[in-house]
């Protein structure tokens, strides 16, 4: 590997309906916070990596060029990275490679989305190919409900059990969100509320689904030599893994899901992790849908295939459990898509440096950040630790 890469600052905006700020102002908010957190200023930065969902989300082509001044990027090397829902983790990976290549010592990474300005489901319907899938796979819930059903059917999981486990995850995420100052949906709910909430696309109910949010996230990455020079106590990037698969939903197995499995394996190998459930202290799993979160547990090796429901039932993935997941409230409570994957990275960096405030997992030293994108097509992982 090239030079080691660290995260030395993060900034997240308050997420939700942010009609109080313009798109660039939203970016500026996150970027300013990352500078404040790191003690750096824009002049210190050498390169900027930015990205979001399809520009049709906000109706501005070339959003990176629209954000230049808000990011303090003028006169610097800038690139736009965009890989659908996995954009946030792809941004973090691109920032990592900028530094690991040896070309840059300080890189700013920015992801954002302002979903109240457009029609998110309308735009996401155009991710599906225009000929075969688009006519019947509009928007996100359709595809993820198909996957959830396939998962439950494959292992013959009892409907009552999976629904209860999903409801428990929903309650966990919504409760955790109350302790995250940046989270969007802040409501106190019970398992009963989830079980009774209306169906969006069977088996997915409204409380099993993420919102569409306005929000931005910024992360500052530094080389090992810069960390030494600054005397910082950063979060270190120990492993990166990404995998993509077939464009057509029907061509791949979405239960024993190769892109998720391979992305995790690659990252674990780099980080030297052989038993993720034991060696990880926290995981920010990309969970726009409760059922899908359980499927990810299996693909990431937190448990055997078909056994994720037990992880929930036994409290393993709950606060105080062996591997607490999404203590931030996760994607289920907050989802400005272009920022969402990067928020997972920022949240894990906060956890392993003991800066997560009210939602800190005590003693967390190594964590996993994840994002997923496309029509169940892309998965990306980053392993972050407080030591190299």
């Amino acid at each position: 590997m090239g030079q080691a890469v660290a995260i030395i600052g993060t900034g997240q905006t308050r997420c939700g309906n942010r009609l109080d700020v313009s798109y660039p102002e939203l970016i500026y908010e996150a970027v300013s916070m990352a500078f404040q957190d790191s003690g750096l200023s824009p002049k210190d930065i050498e390169a900027v990596v930015s990205g979001s969902m399809p520009p049709a989300m906000e109706g501005v082509h070339n959003p990176h060029l629209y954000w230049v001044d808000a990011m303090g990027a003028k006169g610097k090397s800038l690139v736009r990275i965009a890989t659908c829902g996995s954009t946030g983790i792809s941004l973090a990976h691109a920032g990592f490679y900028h530094v690991a290549s040896g070309l840059f010592d300080l890189v700013l990474v920015v992801g954002a989305e302002k979903m109240y300005e457009g029609n998110p489901q309308g735009v996401m319907a155009t991710v599906a190919d225009p000929f075969f899938q688009r006519p019947f796979l509009a928007g996100a819930p359709g595809i993820f409900s198909l996957q959830s059903n396939e998962w439950a059917h494959r292992y013959g999981l009892e409907e009552k059990r999976t629904r209860m486990a999903a409801a428990q995850l929903s309650v966990r995420n919504h409760t955790d969100a109350l302790y995250n100052p940046y989270a969007h949906i802040k409501v106190k709910i019970t398992v009963e509320d989830v079980l009774k909430s209306r169906v969006i696309a069977y088996p997915v109910r409204i409380l099993d689904v993420c919102p569409a949010s306005d929000g931005a996230c910024a992360v500052i990455m530094a080389s090992e030599r810069m960390v030494k020079k600054m005397g910082a106590k950063p979060a270190w990037i120990r492993g990166v893994g990404y995998c993509g698969e077939e464009a057509f939903f029907g061509e791949g197995d979405k239960v024993v899901w190769q892109s998720a499995i391979r992305a995790a394996k690659t990252a674990y190998k780099q980080a030297g992790i052989t038993n993720p459930r034991k060696e990880l202290d926290v995981a920010e799993v990309y969970n726009p849908f409760t059922f899908q979160e359980m499927l990810f547990y299996e693909c990431f090796g937190f448990c055997d295939f078909g056994k994720a429901v037990e992880l929930v039932e036994n409290g393993v993935v709950m606060k105080g459990g062996e591997l607490p997941c999404d203590p931030s409230g996760g994607v289920l409570s907050t989802n400005p898509i272009g920022a969402t994957g990067l928020q997972r990275v920022a949240e894990v960096a906060l956890q392993v440096t003991n800066k997560a405030g009210d939602h800190q997992i005590p003693g967390a030293s190594t964590g996993l950040a994840h994002a997923m994108g496309g029509l169940d097509q892309f998965n990306g992982i980053m392993i972050i630790s407080n030591s190299l």
Partner: protein, 379 residues
């Protein structure tokens, strides 16, 4: 450059008004052709970086549509959007990190399937101030050209000679879209679009794709007798609002400086043998050459007058025909790099320039050239 990285080989489609194949079919055939030519299997590709545009493809998350078709199924990959030269640069960084030994870089644009590029570039202007007044790539280039004329006294004849040169060169390039022998009169009688730019001064759009294989020196030497090494690269961006910018001194000098420093180039005019430039209009070729440091500001017109940039001149510029020859909007940056590498390899055939040791490839996108990149290639 911290480590030697090589272009092993690159392939292009025959660019045209309308490629009949579907996007997936085009990239599949192109990558197949590349792998067969190099003689390696898909399993030997480490990672893939592509470039495309969601608005420019009419499919959101544009890379998800062709990810498996380029051979990246179950591989890692990413997309550097809107300018394929940046996908090249990102691919190179992945090799420099030491994690990958080979990278596939692919880009495709089918301008025939989406609204006109003038509409799309108008959409890239901010929605409140610049979009309503109708700014787009051509209008901005016109504003630039007008300012330049006021300052330095550029003539329409000089602009026409750039068009004649590039479309003339394009006749020798089998992959290009537009070409022909034209007279100054032909150009000056084409309709005025945005003063002083006429229809023929402006690069029209094309369908086209390009695929390239990058590798570490060791791997590259095993795959080709003529590896082309990346000596330097630089990229830089300008402010969003035209009113905040100096239209005639954008971020290109900064991008060039970064690339020249990495490559150890001190006097670009003497040390660079051929250049492939993003001539979004005839005027922009002149302006970019100045900003790349090939001559002083205001002297760009002289280069074309004196035949310096002709295919047999001292500094041949766009022997491929440039964007005036073919302009697949997002793929064009990677095509410039592919063409520059052909020149270094000595495999450009009919449009080969003599004695090329070092070549420069330039790309840009955004209004008035908001984001520029420069890549220096050598033997």
């Amino acid at each position: 450059m911290p480590q030697k990285v090589a272009i092993v080989d690159a392939v292009q489609t025959k660019h045209s008004e309308r490629l009949e194949d579907n996007i997936r079919e085009i990239v599949f055939k192109l990558v197949r052709q590349l792998l067969d030519r190099v003689g390696i299997d898909r399993s030997e590709i480490g990672t893939m970086i592509s470039s495309s545009s969601d608005y420019g493809q009419g499919i959101s998350c544009s890379n998800s549509y062709y990810y498996d078709a380029v051979g990246a199924n179950h591989k890692s990959g990413s997309k550097a959007a809107e300018d394929s030269a940046l996908a090249f640069i990102y691919g190179l960084m992945r090799i420099l990190s030491g994690e990958y030994k080979t990278v596939l870089v692919v880009s495709i644009t089918k301008c025939s399937e989406v609204p006109s590029v003038h509409t799309l570039t108008n959409l890239s202007a901010d929605p409140f101030f610049q979009r309503p007044i109708g700014l787009n790539d051509v209008v901005t280039a016109g504003l630039q050209a007008r300012e330049y004329m006021n300052l330095y006294g550029l003539t329409e004849g000089q602009l026409a000679r750039v068009v004649i040169k590039n479309l003339g060169n394009a006749q020798k390039n089998p992959y290009t879209h537009r070409s022909g022998e034209f007279s100054i009169n032909d150009i000056l009688s084409s309709p005025m679009m945005v003063y002083p730019l006429r229809e023929m001064d402006i690069a029209s759009t094309s369908d086209g794709a390009c695929a390239m294989l990058l590798a570490t020196e060791e791997i590259a030497r095993g795959l080709t007798d003529t590896p082309v090494f990346v000596e330097g690269m630089g990229w830089s961006v300008d402010s969003t609002f035209l009113g905040d910018r100096k239209l005639l001194s954008g971020p290109l000098p900064q991008a060039a400086k970064m690339a020249y420093q990495m490559a150890g180039v001190k006097d670009p005019f003497r040390e660079i043998d051929v250049a492939e430039i993003c001539d979004i209009t005839s005027f922009n070729e002149i302006l970019w050459l100045e900003q790349l440091g090939f001559c002083l500001p205001g002297e760009g017109g002289q280069l074309i007058d004196d035949g310096v940039t002709a295919i047999n001149g001292k500094l041949p510029v766009n022997p491929s025909g440039g964007l005036l020859g073919a302009n697949p909007y997002i793929a064009r940056g990677l095509i410039r790099i592919a063409e520059a590498s052909l020149q270094v390899k000595g495999e450009a055939k009919n449009h080969q320039v003599g004695h090329v040791k070092r070549a420069l490839a330039h790309s840009c996108h955004g209004l008035g050239g908001q984001l520029h990149s420069v890549v220096i290639l050598g033997k």
